[in-house]
């Protein structure tokens, strides 16, 4: 009787382990297939310190961060093996145009990661997908999402900054340079501007739903129009210019 019971208890785990091993093998196979389907491209480009990077994507994320080297490292994960990617390097710029390289073809997502010198100018566009730029201090930082995707610009010190999307949040954390131009625009999303307390700029901000919160940057010189849908005025001595517009979301200023 005891022997029977022992046999019965042994056979149940054996079946279970067999199934587990089969499942693990299947999962491993699927993972390998997935890695094979997603192509990875990685390339380095020696450049000068003040290089310009132009990237035009169709769909996918773009991440740009600075590093302490005079070269650009471009890494791209391509969903589709049919996708073409032909970066062009000139004396002043590195140009990647997924749109032009794949016109009229469905190439799925292409996710980019770029490591660039801190003084680079970056001009990034995508039809759809998130854009993140961090610690760039060149002349220009431009992030444009035609349809939907969040934009995060962190640790920026550029003279000209432009962030625009249709659906998605925009977060700017950086300096306001003297004489610079800063433009943020969204149709549906939250715009948050995180800047130093002593920032000086001429502001023109408009939000259809009147959700404009200037926080400590509000002063008596700022005038309100259209029953609070638009504010115009100088913060500090107005050395830079800032335009912010949001159709269905809020605009919030915060002290850095």
């Amino acid at each position: 009787m005891k022997m029977r019971m022992f046999t019965a208890r042994f056979e149940i785990p054996r079946t279970f382990y067999t199934k587990l091993v089969l499942l693990a093998t299947l999962l491993l196979f699927c993972a390998v297939q997935s890695i094979d389907a997603q192509q990875k491209l990685s390339k380095r480009y020696p450049v000068s310190k003040n290089v310009r990077i132009e990237l035009k994507n169709i769909s996918g994320t773009i991440t740009v961060e600075s590093w302490n080297r005079d070269e650009i490292k471009l890494t791209a994960l391509l969903d589709s093996p049919k996708a073409n990617l032909s970066p062009r390097q000139t004396s002043e710029a590195l140009i990647v145009d997924v749109m032009a390289d794949n016109r009229g073809r469905d190439v799925g997502d292409v996710n980019f990661k770029l490591q660039v010198p801190a003084n680079s100018s970056v001009d990034l566009e995508t039809m759809r997908g998130q854009i993140t730029v961090s610690n760039i201090r060149g002349g220009l930082v431009r992030a444009h999402v035609t349809s939907e995707g969040d934009i995060e610009l962190i640790g920026i010190g550029a003279q000209t900054v432009s962030a625009q999307n249709n659906i998605g949040n925009i977060f700017y954390d950086g300096e306001i340079c003297r004489g610079g131009t800063y433009r943020f625009q969204s149709s549906k999303g939250e715009i948050t501007i995180n800047i130093p307390a002593d920032s000086a700029f001429n502001l023109e901000a408009a939000a259809s739903n009147k959700k404009i919160a200037l926080g400590q940057f509000w002063n008596d010189g700022i005038k309100s129009f259209g029953e609070g849908r638009k504010v115009v005025g100088d913060v500090g001595d107005g050395r830079a210019r800032m335009f912010v517009m949001n159709f269905q979301g809020s605009i919030t200023f915060r002290r850095r």
Binding site: I58, S59, M99, R103, G104, D106, G108, M127, R128, T146, S147, E148, N166, I167, Q185, S187, K188, N202, L203, E204, A206, S208, K223, F225, G226, R229, K230, V232, R241, F243, M245, F247, Q248
Partner: protein
């Protein structure tokens, strides 16, 4: 024959164009009627004088001076009539406008150059204003810098709608190639922009001179155009 008929025919009688019969009837009436006889005598003497003085007239002693005098009299009378009809304070302006200008060639050339310069400058300024109408206005220290004319808004919207219709066609043509995810993304984003456009149009229909809504509408239409244009390139 009565007197009226007789006096009608006297002129023909003097000219000798009457028939023999009419002539004898008329003469018999003239012999009996003294009034008609005196009319014939007067007319005969006038016709006779004209025949004898034909082609001759007395010329004035200085014809040119006479015409100048007549012209001066007419002009002075016309000026006095005009001064009487124009209200005080506007006479000099009317005179300045109505006076005749006699310019030398260099004066004429300088005037033409000045007119060309003014027209060019005003055209350039007009064009710049018109071009700036399609973009977000730059901030001004005084506040808003937007057109207040509702007619301008309607005209701009109409122009934008034509471009939008064109790019919409292009998008519809290419849409079949997109994957379902991209189609959904496009539709969702177009809906958001259309909501922004309609919100602004609603506000403008309630208050046509609302400058903030005008600016929002302008930007939303530009955004719609931009979205269509970029998706049409896919």
């Amino acid at each position: 024959m009565n007197c009226e008929k007789c006096q009608d025919l006297i002129s023909d009688l003097i000219d000798g164009s009457l028939s023999q019969r009419d002539q004898s009837t008329l003469n018999s009436h003239l012999e009996e009627c003294l009034d008609c006889g005196s009319v014939r005598s007067d007319l005969q003497s006038l016709v006779g004088f004209c025949h004898t003085q034909r082609g001759q007239h007395d010329a004035p002693p200085n014809e040119k001076t006479l015409w100048l005098r007549i012209r001066n009299v007419i002009e002075s009378e016309a000026r006095s009539v005009a001064a009487a009809s124009v209200p005080a304070g506007r006479g000099s302006w009317t005179n300045w406008l109505s006076r005749s200008w006699e310019l030398s060639f260099p004066q004429l050339a300088a005037s033409a150059a000045a007119i060309v310069l003014i027209v060019s400058l005003s055209t350039a300024v007009g064009l710049r204003r018109w071009q700036s109408g399609g973009t977000v206005s730059a901030p001004s220290r005084e506040g808003m810098t937007l057109s207040a004319s509702a007619a301008n808004v309607r005209s701009r919207v109409s122009q934008q709608q034509q471009s939008i219709a064109y790019w919409n066609q292009r998008v519809e043509f290419n849409k079949a190639r997109w994957n379902p995810q991209m189609r959904e993304t496009f539709d969702r984003n177009l809906k958001v922009i259309d909501e922004a456009v309609n919100d602004s149009l609603d506000t403008l229909s309630r208050s046509p001179h609302d400058e903030v809504s005008e600016e929002m509408l302008n930007t939303a239409l530009n955004e719609k155009l931009s979205l269509l244009r970029e998706f049409a390139q896919l």
